[in-house]
Amino acid sequence: MIECKDISKIYKSGPSTSSGQAIETRALKNVSFKVSQGEFLAIMGPSGSGKSTLMHIMGCLDTPNGGQYFLEGRDVSRLSDDELADIRMQKIGFVFQAFNLLPRATVLRNVTLPLLYAGLSRKERENQAREALKSSAFPEEFWNHYSNQLSGGMMQRVAIARALCNNPAIILADEPTGNLDTKTGKQVLDTFQHLHIKQGRTIILITHEQYVAEHAQRVIHIRDGSVVGDEKVKVRRLANHHYET
């Protein structure tokens, strides 16, 4: 499904002065792992560990300097910007820490946004958006509310619905509970577990909290740009006990 093979990423920053010495930062060093279909993976690490860079590469927002990245068997590590945009549209659903919803737009319009670029008709878009909103357990009476009138937990569920609406191969969630309190955070994690258990979605969750990571099946630990641990979660936390299998 997903395979990262020796991925490395180097950022060049700082002024390229007359000496020509730009500062190089090695954000990722030969990172390799595989994610299989229907897996719920958490990537954990402290800030500055390179987990965001890894997410950007897995989300096709960025390309690695070295190594290869296979998404559904296709090497997407050397594609152009527009080709990557196409992959993002078809294969990837993003959930961000800061929600990134369009303010002054209704919930439904926010969810249909990715489908706009897929060239679907208005009717198809709305049908898919409705399905996605149902999957993310978003209450129907708020569908026509403006997104900036919603609470944080509700906003994040709109964002999850938006990530789902194009039926992506993977859902990438970057600190999805980072801006939420424990209770609403738990509701959001419940939504992810529901999508994973009931619908068999592949979910990759990036976090720095052990507690949040324990909601996944497997945790990859990253530190200073390298994978330092890859283990199954022994006692998986369940946000809602009726998922017990």
């Binding site: 950007h56 989300g59 927002l61 960025d62 910007d81 527009d82 945009a85 196409d86 993002r88 549209m89 078809q90 993003f94 961000f96 990134n100 369009l102 002054r104 737009a105 946004l113 990715p114 706009l116 670029y117 897929a118 060239g119 008709s121 208005r122 938006r162 194009n166």
Partner: protein, 405 residues
Amino acid sequence: MKLEDLLQETVTALSSNKARSGLTILGIVIGIASVIAMISIGQGVSEQIKSSIEGLGSNLLTVMPGFIQPGRGVVSAGRGTAESLEQDDVEIIREIDGVVSVSPEVQRRFQVVSETGNNTNTLVLGILPEYLEARNVFVQEGSFITDANVRALGRVVVLGPTVAEDIFSAQDPIGRTIRISGMNFKVIGLLQSKGSAGFFNPDDAVFIPLTTMQKVITGEDFLSAIAVSVASEDRMPLVQAEITQALAKKHRVDPENPDFSILSQADIIGALTQVTTTFTIFLAAVAGISLIVGGIGIMNMMLTTVKERTREIGLRKAIGAKRCDISRQFLAEAVALTFLGGVLGIILGWAVSFAVSHFAGLATKVSPGAILLAFLVASAIGIIFGYYPAKRAAGLNPIEALRYE
């Protein structure tokens, strides 16, 4: 992204900040409206001048004292003040084949005062009865100057409608007395209006017998002009050449470089059209500058919008928008602003030119060409000034844009 969706997105984006969009549109509205209004005033005045000159008589040659150099229009400098035309010249012209009537004229500006003390500075023309026919004018009320008036050095005057209104307002001027240069004249007639021609107004004049003008008022025999009415239009060049030969012989001057000049109506129209065209271009250029300022306003607003919506652009790119999707969206916003501004500007410009002709009395003409030009310019401005902000938006890196605070 479908066109329909693009339009929907554009409308949503523009209406989310109505005040800013409105003010930006206003810049374009003012620019386009002034271009339309200025061109319409220029063209309207030009057409009016042309038609009123044609109304003065189409088969008319005007012999004027002094030589007008080729390439320099009738408008250039005071050559009409040379004193080279005399009464005898009239008789010579009258004998030329093809000449229907000859109307010698002496003109001078005087203060004209009515009994009640109303006064106006106007053109006083000393003329013969032939003037009526040569210059294509009609009497509205009373009678015109007669041969008897001319022979008797009559103190009679025929008023142009503008003068009559200026000094007698609504009252009937016939039979009243006016003073020209300290002498009393009896009003015997009133002419029909010929309409203003923008720069000069044939209605703003009074007419007295030629002999009275020469012997009593000015004391000089020289003529200001001789109007020659020709039998038909195709005989005009020949008659013009014959008059030149005959007068040159009489004045003992070289026909190639005479001390008089002969103008046809076509020459006058040509010269004035040149003036009004320059005038129109000048007005349009001034208005065009305001259009460029409006365009800069669009660019300014679009750059602000791109900055403000950086995170939104980042999100759109993250969820699959390509470069061209983003640049199209912002270009569409800029073009929509100018398009709206263009339409409103055309309406406003039309209203302004209507108001100008209604309240200021200047003729205006809104031509389809001017509208098309304004429209093309507006669209071009939208594309040109929207291109850079759109390109900037499209070039944003999604990762950095999403982090932008």
